[in-house]
């Protein structure tokens, strides 16, 4: 079931087109990655979902109805440009944000106490925000984002500003929220930080959606059919055996063992490759080279820009 659907979203700013007919379909309970370089239009799309700005064209559906004002209570948003009132006390401030998200004061306090206990930060309650470090502020900010237990959580560059330990704590909390039924959208240009979490992605570049779908399918589609084999034996002998149907991309020596990267050119099974190699040495490891989202991303963007260039040539 789709929790969020964006159809043909167009947003024009005075001097550039921020979004050009972008579609988005986020399944309930999924972790969705909205990927793309800086300035691609991710933040604009998210602002439209949060009803901060309105699209020039296109529609957003949330929970099977057209997005309406009250839906902000079901959405939690951690913007990239985030901050807290520096002179306000942490507890007071967290209550304020929770109230703006529709919680009653007493509800807000009891939930906040739980979260503060969980993060072991009860001592901060009466401190002013400016007395906290950047990382501490981020934790408070995270709590204020999720406090109303929304159906949809949107994190724009969630891990920037966190040290690895705290980033991990936050990651675990996000996964817990997902288990409880929340749907999560990550928006980032830093693919590595989210690729292990996302089940679906959309790739936006220069205001157009380039690629969209489940992570596994995309990975498979962009699979290179490359494998890394570690073995003990003679490299030259191996090279001689792997001829027409294979291509050796590179080989290197680590601790006296050889590691060879091989691409299968035809539709041949990996077992065949192994069989061929058995004679040339002692195989110690075998693994498929899975393209990182980063690689796929760069490849797709390059292809797209090539296409648009050709397009402009033919015109």
């Amino acid at each position: 079931m789709k929790l969020l659907e964006a159809r043909d979203i167009v947003k024009q700013f005075s001097n550039h087109l921020a979004l050009n007919k972008v579609n988005l379909a986020v399944n309930e309970g999924s972790i969705y990655g909205l990927l793309g370089p800086n300035g691609a239009g991710k933040t604009t799309l998210i602002r439209i979902i949060n009803q901060i700005t309105a699209p020039d064209n296109g529609e957003i559906f949330f929970n099977n109805h057209k997005l309406k004002a009250n839906d902000v209570f079901d959405i939690g948003y951690l913007p990239e440009e985030r901050g807290l009132y520096r002179k306000m006390k942490v507890g007071e401030q967290a209550i304020y944000f929770a109230q703006l998200k529709g919680l009653s004061r007493s509800d807000a306090i009891s939930r906040l106490k739980d979260w503060f206990e969980k993060f072991e930060i009860q001592a901060w309650w009466d401190k002013k925000v400016e007395e906290l470090s950047k990382g501490m502020q981020q934790k408070v900010q995270f709590i204020t984002t999720v406090i109303h237990e929304p159906k949809l959580l949107i994190f724009d560059e969630p891990f920037s500003g966190f040290d690895p330990i705290n980033a991990n704590i936050i990651k675990q909390e996000i996964l817990k929220l997902k288990k409880k039924g929340a749907t999560i959208i990550f928006s980032t240009h830093n693919m590595e930080s989210v690729e292990e979490l996302c089940t679906h992605i959309t790739l936006i570049n220069e205001s157009v959606s380039l690629l969209e779908g489940p992570m596994d399918t995309i990975r498979k589609n962009y699979s290179l059919d490359e494998y890394e084999i570690g073995f003990r034996g003679d490299v030259n002998l191996l090279k001689a055996t792997l001829t027409t149907q294979y291509k050796i991309i590179e080989n290197e020596q680590r601790n006296g063992d050889n590691f060879v990267r091989v691409r299968i050119l035809n539709d041949i099974s990996t077992n065949h490759l192994l069989n061929t190699m058995l004679s040339s040495g002692n195989i110690i490891s075998f693994r498929e080279i899975i393209p990182s989202m980063n690689d796929i991303f760069i490849k797709v963007v390059e292809e797209a820009s090539k296409k648009s260039k050709e397009h402009s040539f033919t015109n």
């Binding site: 005075s14 602002r47 949060n50 009803q51 901060i52 700005t53 309105a54 004002a69 902000v72 959405i75 948003y77 951690l78 913007p79 440009e81 985030r82 901050g83 807290l84 009132y85 520096r86 002179k87 306000m88 304020y96 944000f97 109230q99 703006l100 998200k101 900010q141 204020t144 984002t145």
Partner: protein, 450 residues
């Protein structure tokens, strides 16, 4: 609770709890009260010390016992002493000063000298001069040998006070006091100017704070930008009202308690009038008239009559209306400016068109104290950017109801309009970072839809 009331609550509470607010709220009335109390206190304190003044003359005894003693001033006429003797040792003998009157006094005004170690107070010299003038005039008149001079003088002595009475269209007469009206006009206009400026600027600073701390995007994912802006404007407006009311209450308390400590009983009555006047925001000059004690009781009565002639309900109601109207108008403009810049130093280019009409309004209001019916004052009391200040300055002198209602209507319509425009600039501006905003840019923002 609606979102806008949550925002109002935060804006209000965070400001009211601030140390600077509490200090300002307490200190300002102390200064204000000091302005009223110190002159009275100085006057009473000086009088409390008894001064004995030696009076010497050369040769003649023309002025013996001419200068009568008062409660705090004693004049001792020394027939045998000479000025030169006394000059050296008058303070040893217990005299505050030596008054020397030369026989030429009837022809040379400078022939009277008061010699003392300290600078004598002004009212002492005036008192002496008056007494001597009267005596010399009397003596000069006597030389004409007019029969029954005393009676004639008594008969011709007159005392004039111009009573101003205004007749309204329906024929009812009211005793007025120009001084009182001027005072009320002055205070009303100035207060609106100051309050609008202080709290309008606070709105701007609040918007900039939210923008620079990047908290704004978090908030507007929960509330409409318009709600955030209005919540801020209303919240700070309430802070302004609170502070204003507290100022009046605290000032009144300080003055009432100071009066019982400082003032002797016979001044109590007049100081009572002072506090009453301050409570009703009446002018200073007016009150000091009765304090000088020598004045007729009639005059105190007159001030009270004028006080009653002022339509306090109308003045206070209009003050509240124009304060809120003017504040809303300017606060929305200040909010728009705050949203367009990244920090306070960038505000200057946008501040100029806002501050100029405010300052202009104050200048026109100053003119209106002198001539409330001048055409500049008349028109400026309708132009909404100046009307709150100028109309408050005209109001105590009497303004036809149609003018008041028209001016108020224009003000309301304008602030609805500016709030709408400011909201358009605001919701685009708060999400713009790092770019230096120009007027051209603002114009573009105004035309964005949604």
């Amino acid at each position: 609770m609606s979102k806008i009331s949550i925002i109002i609550q935060r804006e209000y509470l965070t400001r009211v709890k601030k140390k600077s607010f509490i200090i300002m709220t307490l200190l300002a009335p102390v200064f204000m009260a000091a302005m009223f109390i110190v002159p009275v206190w100085i006057m009473t304190r000086d009088d409390a010390e008894e001064k004995v003044i030696a009076v010497v003359e050369d040769e003649t005894n023309m002025f013996k016992d001419v200068i009568s003693n008062t409660k705090y001033l004693k004049f001792e006429y020394l027939e045998d002493a000479t000025l030169d003797d006394l000059k050296t040792n008058f303070s040893d003998k217990g005299y505050y000063a030596v008054l020397y009157i030369s026989p030429k006094v009837a022809y040379i005004p400078n022939a009277v000298q008061l010699i003392s170690h300290k600078q004598p107070p002004l009212d002492l010299t005036i008192y002496i001069a008056n007494a001597l003038e009267k005596e010399i005039e009397q003596k000069k008149l006597e030389t004409y040998d007019i029969k029954d001079l005393d009676k004639i003088l008594k008969a011709v002595s007159t005392n004039i006070h111009v009573q101003t009475i205004k007749i309204s269209d329906d024929g009812t007469e009211k005793e007025t006091s120009t001084g009182l009206s001027m005072g009320i006009a002055y205070i009303g206009g100035l207060l609106i100017y100051i309050l609008t400026f202080i709290f309008g600027a606070q709105v701007m600073r609040g918007v900039i704070e939210e923008k620079t701390s990047r908290v704004v995007e978090v908030i507007i994912s929960s509330v409409r930008p318009f709600q955030l802006m209005m919540g801020k404007i209303l919240g700070i407006g309430l802070v302004g009202l609170t502070q204003f009311v507290l100022w009046i209450i605290i000032t009144a308390i300080i003055i009432t308690s100071a009066q019982s400590l400082l003032l002797p009983d016979d001044v109590g009555q007049t100081s009572q009038a002072i506090t009453e006047n301050i409570m009703s925001a009446a002018p200073v000059e007016q009150i000091q008239v009765p304090v000088t004690q020598t004045q007729d009781f009639n005059e105190i009565q007159q001030v009270f009559n004028s006080l009653h002639s002022i339509n306090w309900g109308l003045i206070l109601g209009s003050f509240l209306f124009y304060f809120l109207g003017g504040y809303f108008l300017y606060a929305s403009l200040f909010a728009a400016v705050g949203s367009a810049v990244d920090n306070e130093t960038d505000t200057q280019q946008f501040m100029v068109p806002i501050t100029i009409p405010l300052i202009l309004g104050l200048f026109v209001a100053m003119g209106a104290f002198q001539n409330p019916e001048s055409s500049v004052a008349f028109w400026c009391s309708f132009i909404p950017l100046t009307s709150p200040i100028v109309m408050m300055a005209r109001l105590p002198f009497g303004v036809p109801y149609w003018e008041l209602i028209l001016s108020m209507t224009i003000l309301v319509l304008t602030f609805l309009c500016t709030t709408w425009l400011a909201a358009k600039i605001y919701r685009t501006g708060i999400l713009m970072y790092g770019k230096k905003t120009t007027y051209k840019e603002l114009w573009k923002w105004l035309r964005y839809k949604n």
